[in-house]
């Protein structure tokens, strides 16, 4: 009756390294958990914390943020910004009662396909142990209400 819980993980990848690492894992036929849905960004610095919040609010059980190793960013230092945002976001999520293990930051170069695959499998097992998140806004949050632009009324 009840199906076994399969965690849904949203993975944000950087065009220049971690996405290529995932690509490499694929072409090298490395096996990893199929629970992750990868989304390619140009850089981990593009990751607005809103993306993570939207993923969790829309039904994801965990989020993986990946980027180039520190010092190796294609855009010089944007991955440091991703790192700072991640540290702040974790604090905010802890206050909201979201288990810290659900959101993870992983650095992976374009050559680290095997490592990235291993990290994905590891996170899936960790989130599986935590159980489903089931945030009650799922469905509502997915359909973002687009508010029309503000009307400036000259005071």
């Amino acid at each position: 009756m009840t199906e076994a819980f399969e965690p849904v993980i949203i993975g944000f990848t950087c065009n220049w390294c971690s996405y290529r690492a995932a690509d490499l894992a694929g072409t090298a036929r490395v096996k990893y958990a199929p629970n992750v849905r990868l989304i390619r960004l140009m850089c981990s610095g593009r990751l607005d914390p809103t993306f993570v919040l939207k993923a969790l609010a829309s039904g994801a059980d965990g989020v993986m943020i990946t980027g180039c190793h520190p010092g190796e960013c294609h855009y010089l230092e944007q991955n440091y910004k991703a790192m700072r945002r991640y540290h702040l976001l974790k604090r905010m999520l802890a206050q909201m009662g979201v288990e810290p293990g659900r959101v993870k930051l992983v650095w992976a170069s374009a050559a680290e396909g095997v490592r990235l695959a291993g990290e994905i499998t590891k996170l899936v097992e960790e989130v599986r142990a935590l159980g489903p998140l089931n945030w009650p806004t799922a469905g509502v949050a997915a359909a973002l209400p687009a508010k029309p632009a503000a009307l400036e009324v000259p005071a």
Partner: protein, 337 residues
Amino acid sequence: MTANGKPKFAMYWAAACGGCEIAVLNIHEKILDVDANFDVVFWPVAMDAKYKDVEAMPDQSITLCLFNGAIRNSENRHIAELLRRKSKILVAFGSCACEGGFPALSNLTTREETLRTAFSTVSTDNPQNLRPQPNYTVPEGELDIPHMYSVVRPLDQAVPVDYYMPGCPPESEQIAAVVELVIKALKGEATLPAAGSVIGAGHSTVCDECTRTRNEKKITGFTRIQDFRPDPALCLLEQGILCNGPATRNGCTARCPMAGVPCVGCYGPTDGARDFGGRLMSAVASVIDSTDPQEIERILDQIPDPVGSFYHTNLAGSLLQASKPTWEEDQHAAHHD
């Protein structure tokens, strides 16, 4: 009074402090225009009227209803639904109606914990530990008081809303301008904005209106205005004061930061931004001047209450809306109701 042919005006406060009402009265002599152009039919803070009077009105008979305050209890919801039915234009007025406002910070804790803080802590003189009872029998009959919810919600999570007018409270100049616009629209001299719009506010950010000097930001630590004497001309955020200006919609003429007090973000997210705190965290974290995880953690230790700081007036309107324990209590209650 009802036969004078004027369009009808109503204003209601749900879970709010009353500041929005004061802001409306602060439009000074323009309030006479409101009276000259509208028939004020319901405004609990300013005149005597009973809920049954509103219930007796025909549907859609109130032309303009400014609804301030969040949905905290069953009475708030009941009146929101009632006024939605009776009003042509329903405006979510002020931060609480738009995004939950300050009352929504109680979405971080359970209803039980909120009641305990209000009735059973040392600062409350309540030796018998009395709590409000939903039903109570007195010689005159049975008394019911509204049921308090676990999750505080903005108005648009209870009923459809025509316009949003943010601010804690909305600036009086903006209120006056909006009232003028509605009056003109009723006379056919102006057109109302598209339904669902944010009115009485700008398209940009508070920083855009703030005249403090801005340089490239590099923050090595966070502090508060009571702990030192901030430079009166330099950007507050650059001085390590958590100012919410970068993510906040303009429209307030940057009153707070210009007076040396950090912006709390009461005008809510800007055009296109869905989650206020998400955008603000993005902006603030990116200018922390460190590449070392341990040092970043040390700097972030100086923000003792991240949700309270980044979602000061926006928690109920954010993507997550409430904390996990609050949601769990809410769902448990829904099961038993």
